[in-house]
């Protein structure tokens, strides 16, 4: 069997259902094998789209996403998508073609040192130099990508290796002596954590994407309800705890809710689960939660004590550890006073916006979307204001219903990611909340959606600006709107030219109907919402401030 065929057989053994990618000179043998191979292949219109689609597929399903590109420019076009998956710990395997082994290092046509380029943005990568290593390498790549703290793994396969013949031997087990993730928390540490929880007066659970990765959402809910602690979520954690639960405070941090930020700052115990105290969460570190002790549960030891001093570190899988912790908590803390205080903040500082202008308000659109779907949809987003509004104004009830670029903040992620999510969950309604800037960064994937009947509904919040940068310019650069006003094509006509459906909405009264129509339409739909041009995202914590020093935008 040749290397190309071995690759595909290996992917099949790993349960791969769909590959996103783009052909090219150094992957011809693989594409030849794909021609009559039993796996779904989606031809994107740009390799970046393939990487984000694989990522979106993974976020929606929990499975490993797969993308495929040729050497040189094909591979470098994947890099943003790989870096994006790396920052958000998304399991993904990227396969790239490489020039023949005898040409490597020769500045050959379409050659790039792809393992070199992707080393800092992959969990691990491989260059396959012998076809006999190929099946085992693919097995290891999937194993590394999906275990421990997940992440993208790249496998670079020279074209002569794709053509070389050998016997296909699938290794049934994987043994990597230097890679052994910890799954079970230290029992002594868990006991200590339980004691600290029992003694707490003002505990808060701070949950992140690790809860979703580990499938710990159910046990997290049991813990929160048992100890009656409010729960705040990181951006990556949205969906890990029901957004409509009375203990839920929503997202914290720079654009978090005021009550989540106040509760975090005033707490005496932070139970951090699968979250990494990133700078958008903590604001000014020296002032962060000054009276709180911290229990930090994470599968990645390097996330613990990186930014915030931790009393009780527990390394391992969140689901296992929370399960143990639940059993160890014998005495329940009395949090009734604390919950009253938190409730007070909720009443005093709700999320709010001023309506009544002649323009549409983005918050209103999201309220309508929530009202129609009641959480039964997958919401993908681009990056910027539209993304932050989607965090604030929609309630995520279950894991994997919010798909967005967190750590890297990649504009152009949402549309291809929505495409991947829809491929993974064809029965779910999939929306992409976009800005007029972001949508234009991977708009070519309209062709992919139409061609493959991937019916994604794109809600464009069109304000004629690169809105988040404009907001910073308004607040911190004296309204000098340097290169943030942006023109766009007629999105309705554009969608139509691709064979998709376009709808324009300018009035509040049309919003609900337009969303309902988009949902009913059996096609990819672009809804062009003309929104308030200079609407800001509030609350907002200016960069480098303590997170309870919010601007509320109402003064």
């Amino acid at each position: 069997m040749n290397g190309a065929r071995i690759l595909l057989e290996s992917l099949k053994r790993e349960g791969v259902e769909v590959i996103f990618g783009y052909p090219g000179g150094q992957v011809l043998p693989i594409f030849d094998a794909l021609y009559d191979f039993d796996v779904k292949f989606i031809l994107t219109r740009h390799e970046q789209g393939a990487a984000h689609a694989a990522d979106g597929f993974s976020r929606a399903t929990g499975k490993v996403g797969v993308c495929l590109a040729t050497s040189g420019p094909g591979a470098t076009n994947l890099v943003t998508g790989i870096a994006n998956a790396y920052m958000d710990s998304i399991p993904m395997v990227a396969i790239t073609g490489q020039v023949g082994t005898h040409l490597i290092g020769n500045d050959a046509f379409q050659e790039a040192d792809v393992t070199g380029i992707t080393r800092p943005v992959t969990k691990h990568n491989f260059l396959v130099k012998d076809v006999k290593d190929l099946a085992r390498t693919i097995r290891e790549a999937f194993y590394i990508a999906s275990t421990g703290r997940p992440g993208p793994v790249l496998v670079d396969i020279p074209v002569d290796i794709q053509r070389a013949e050998t016997e296909f031997i699938w290794p049934e087990t994987v043994q990597i002596r230097s890679y052994k993730p910890t799954y079970f928390g230290h029992p002594g540490q868990i006991k200590k954590a339980a004691k600290l929880i029992s003694a707490a007066k003002k505990p808060i659970i701070y949950a992140g994407g690790g809860v979703i990765t580990s499938g710990a959402h159910q046990v997290l809910r049991e813990l929160a309800e048992k100890i009656q602690a409010p729960v705040t979520l990181t951006f990556m954690g949205l969906g890990a705890f029901p957004g409509d639960h009375k203990l839920c405070l929503g997202m914290l941090g720079m654009h978090g809710t005021a009550y989540a930020n106040h509760a975090t700052m005033e707490s005496d115990l932070i139970i951090a689960v699968g979250a990494r105290f990133d700078d958008r969460v903590t604001g000014r570190l020296d002032d962060f939660a000054p009276n709180a002790k911290v229990i930090h549960i994470d599968i990645d030891p390097s996330s613990i004590s990186k930014n915030v001093a931790v009393e009780i570190p527990i390394v391992g899988d969140a689901k296992n550890i929370l399960g143990e912790l639940l059993e160890q908590i014998k005495k329940l803390p009395d949090t009734s006073e604390w919950l009253k205080t938190v409730e007070g903040w909720k009443k005093k500082h709700p999320l709010t916006y001023k309506d009544g202008s002649k323009f549409l308000k983005p918050q209103y659109i999201l309220e309508q979307l929530w009202d129609i779907t009641k959480g039964d949809a997958i919401i993908c987003t681009e990056v910027g204001q539209s993304q932050m509004w989607a965090c604030q104004w929609y309630k995520y009830l279950t894991p994997r219903t919010f798909i967005s670029s967190g750590g890297l903040g990649t504009m152009g992620f949402g549309f291809p990611a929505a495409m991947g999510a829809k491929m993974g969950c064809p029965d779910k309604e999939v929306f992409n909340i976009a800005g007029d800037g972001s949508i234009q960064m991977n708009i070519q994937e309209l062709a992919t959606c139409v061609e493959n009947k991937i019916h994604v509904k794109v809600l464009i919040f069109n304000n004629g600006f690169l809105g988040m940068v404009r907001q910073w310019q308004e607040l911190f650069y004296k309204k000098r709107y340097s290169f943030t006003p942006i023109t766009s094509p007629d999105f309705v006509k554009l969608a139509e030219s691709y064979g998709a459906v376009g709808i324009r909405v300018t009035k509040k009264s049309e919003v609900r109907k337009a969303i309902e129509k988009a949902m009913k339409t059996k096609n990819t739909v672009f809804v062009d919402f003309r929104i308030e041009p200079e609407e800001n995202v509030y609350p907002m914590v200016p960069s480098g401030q303590a997170i309870n020093k919010m601007l509320d935008g109402l003064a």
Partner: protein, 157 residues
């Protein structure tokens, strides 16, 4: 403060670049680095001297190293009893009349002359950080023309 760390790694293509890349990407400083094969040819041994302002950064360096897939073990010698050595080769300006003086210095410290020509002597020294420092300090009066050193090696005792 400087700390000595040893790292056992898979002897694979690109592993040095993974280690070096980690240090540069995260802004850590390598003061010296020595790499060699072990008795097991599939494993390499690296001794890295790192510059870390505080315990927190040292901890991060160790954790980040451990996170690399090809890293098998990380040992921090900071709080471990150990012996460390480095090898230096020094070329000093030399005249026959200085011979006795130079030999006195070398006898006092850890060096020996491995080659002496009319105007140049090459000195070899193996010692710990302090011994090497003292030797180099003493040799300054002769004029150090060239200096090469291996970087530190360490072993627990």
């Amino acid at each position: 403060m400087r700390h000595t760390i040893s790292v056992l790694v898979e002897n694979k293509f690109g592993v040095l670049s993974r280690i070096a890349g980690l240090f540069s990407a995260r802004g850590y400083n390598i003061a010296s680095l020595a790499v060699s094969e072990t008795m097991d040819p599939t494993i390499s041994y690296m001794t890295i001297v790192v510059e870390a302002q505080d315990e927190k950064i040292l901890e991060q360096i160790k954790k980040q190293l451990n996170k690399l897939i090809d890293v098998i073990t990380v040992t921090d010698f900071t709080k471990k009893s150990h012996i460390d050595r480095e090898l230096v080769l020094v070329k000093v300006a030399y005249a026959a009349k200085d011979k006795q003086k130079l030999e006195d210095i070398l006898a006092k410290f850890v060096g020996k002359i491995i080659q002496a020509k009319a105007d140049i002597a090459i000195i070899e020294a193996v010692g710990d950080q302090e011994q090497v420092r003292q030797l180099l300090e003493a040799l300054k009066e002769f004029g150090i023309k060239e200096l090469v050193r291996t970087g530190r090696l360490a072993i627990t005792n």
